[in-house]
């Protein structure tokens, strides 16, 4: 089965500004890809190109195995899009806005069910101009979902959502990917959302795709950074301070935070036991996406796009 999203050497410039340069990417069916990057990195432009709003200067967009430019309509039919700050026909009601979208998508659906899923059914008769930011975001999501898409392009979808709404949305999207095999391209500034939701993470900067990794591999345990729970932390710290394989020690009541020069937890355990300390537990520190992001952004080698 071909990947749902296949971007090949995608380029887009706005005058002298190279918004997207040579981006190549593949996303499998049912996969959730998080798109990260600082402002102006080219994330939105990439999404806009995939949504058919911006024409690439070069490169190729293949969605569902079909060339986007040549099969625009059939692709758009299978796609849902939520762009940052969704806009609506303000003089129309929530339901009418959704209906218009459904009509333009060429589908007949139970609008109330969709509104219910988005949690805005009670607002069906309200004008969109009266909606709060969070409710507008929910309506935007409902709109993106109205044609039951196989591919969702979501640009900052949780903007304005409260904690509960945020949580619900992420859970809902995960379920979509797992159960309905919906492919999701998820652009956000919120690292924890990407961490929670995405199978893979792609990081863009200055129009280039810097890296694209499995989220799980980025979030593995770091054996060089451990937290040791024990009694006599102060004493232990003094003993450990003289060792050349210990790089850094942070003493807290009942625990030590250590950074080892090598990932040798066994050596640490033996040393503490041999010196009479009773270890209640050793917890290796888990890496965060933010760590990885900062690391990648700081160490970004020139010209390295993959």
């Amino acid at each position: 089965m071909p990947p749902t999203i296949q971007l090949t050497k995608l380029c887009k410039s706005f005058g002298a500004n190279h918004a997207v340069m040579d981006v190549s990417l593949e996303v499998a069916r049912g996969e959730v890809l998080g798109l990260l990057g600082p402002n102006g990195a080219g994330k939105s432009t990439t999404l806009y190109m995939m949504a058919g709003l911006v024409r690439p200067n070069s490169g190729r967009i293949t969605l569902f195995g079909e060339h986007f430019q040549h099969n625009r309509l059939s692709i758009l039919k299978r796609m849902g899009v939520l762009l940052e700050r969704p806009v609506f026909y303000e003089h129309l009601t929530v339901e009418r806005n959704l209906k218009i979208h459904a009509q333009l998508s060429g589908v007949e659906v139970n609008l109330h069910r969709t509104l219910d899923l988005a949690g805005i059914l009670p607002l069906a008769d309200h004008r969109t101009s009266t909606l709060s930011l969070g409710m507008r975001q929910r309506l935007g999501l409902a709109r993106a979902m109205v044609n039951e898409p196989e591919l969702l392009l979501l640009d900052e979808p949780t903007n304005g959502l409260d904690v509960e709404g945020n949580h619900e949305l992420l859970r809902f999207l995960r379920r979509l990917a797992d159960e309905a095999k919906v492919t999701i391209l998820f652009s956000s500034h919120q690292m924890h959302e990407v961490e929670t939701l995405c199978d893979r993470v792609a990081i863009m900067n200055e129009g280039k795709l810097i890296t694209c990794e499995q989220t799980e591999s980025l979030l593995s345990y770091d054996q060089t950074q451990v937290e040791v729970l024990l009694e006599g932390a102060d004493r232990a710290a003094k003993k450990l301070a003289d060792l050349d394989w210990v790089a850094e020690i942070d003493v807290r009541p009942g625990r030590l935070r250590l950074r080892l020069k090598t990932a040798n937890v066994h050596q640490l355990t033996s040393f503490l036991v041999n010196n009479g300390f009773t270890i209640a537990g050793i917890i290796p520190r888990r890496r965060t996406l933010q760590d990885y992001f900062l690391k990648v952004m700081n160490k970004q080698p020139e010209g390295d796009a993959s």
Binding site: F14, A51, L53, F88, I100, L104
Partner: protein, 263 residues
């Protein structure tokens, strides 16, 4: 394709029907026609009363009505661009040109509604207050009521062509500006500029506005007992309006299809 255009057209209408200004402008025209008997009384003789229709129709349709139709159409696309809703629409499975055609159809429908309103009201006023028994001069029946109705119907049919050209013109301007106000101002401004410059520049025969009132004028000629119906003028009207319509539509479609709609 037709299905998508039709759907988009229905969507346009469902949106326009919920805009207050759509009704307000029609009401404004209706009010102008309703007040016109005070300016130009319906005298109760058949000649003058057909003349009332010929007096009211071009004023209400080709001056006030046409302005409002242009304003309506000029806002159709620029409003979507200004608010950003165009991005939502263009991510739906519809070709951009199909969407432009649907917009054009919405503008044409509004023009048609305006024309129908003007026609119905002006005839209704004379029907209630006046005499519709044909045009008679010196005891000689020059045109029967049926002939006058036919002449008006023909004028109605013919006048739709330059108005359609105007709608396409406004739509083209609408695609070139990003604000509804500047779009309306540009459309009306260009219309007036064209009207005042076309003759000094010697291009009046090629500008569609020259032919806006011509179809009604043939009806007016009948009211005045003048037979001036000339197929050459009609041919010019059709050619000029048709060319403008096609060119404007081409500009509108090209402008929309070649544009990037980024943030």
């Amino acid at each position: 394709m037709m299905g998508r255009i039709w759907t988009a057209y229905l969507v346009e209408w469902s949106k326009s029907l919920r805009l207050k200004r759509s009704y307000l402008w029609l009401l404004l025209v209706a009010l102008a026609i309703g007040c016109s008997p005070f300016l130009r009384p319906v005298v109760g003789d058949s000649v003058g009363d057909y003349g009332f229709i010929a007096y009211v129709t071009p004023l209400a349709m080709n001056v006030l009505g046409f302005f409002l139709v242009l304003a309506f159409t000029a806002g159709l696309i620029s409003t979507e661009m200004a608010s950003g809703t165009i991005r939502m629409v263009l991510t739906r499975p519809i070709h951009r040109w199909e969407w432009v055609v649907a917009k054009l159809m919405a503008g044409l429908t509004y023009a048609l509604i305006m024309m129908t309103l003007v026609s119905i009201l002006s005839w209704a006023i004379v029907w209630v207050l006046g005499d519709l028994s044909g045009v008679t001069y010196g005891g000689e029946l020059l045109s029967s009521h049926g002939e006058m109705v036919s002449a008006y119907t023909f004028g109605f049919f013919l006048s739709f062509f330059p108005i359609a050209a105007g709608v396409a013109f406004a739509l083209a301007i609408s695609t070139l500006t990003r604000s509804p106000i500047s779009s309306v101002m540009a459309t009306v401004g260009l219309w007036l500029a064209l009207d005042f410059l076309k003759t000094p520049l010697g291009i009046d025969a090629y500008i569609f506005t020259t032919y806006l009132e011509m179809p009604w004028q043939h009806f007016a000629d009948r009211c005045d007992g003048i037979a001036t119906q000339e197929s050459k003028d009609i041919l010019h009207l059709l050619l000029c309006s048709g060319t403008t319509f096609i060119l404007a539509l081409f500009v509108a479609i090209t402008s929309i299809t070649r544009r990037d709609f980024s943030r």
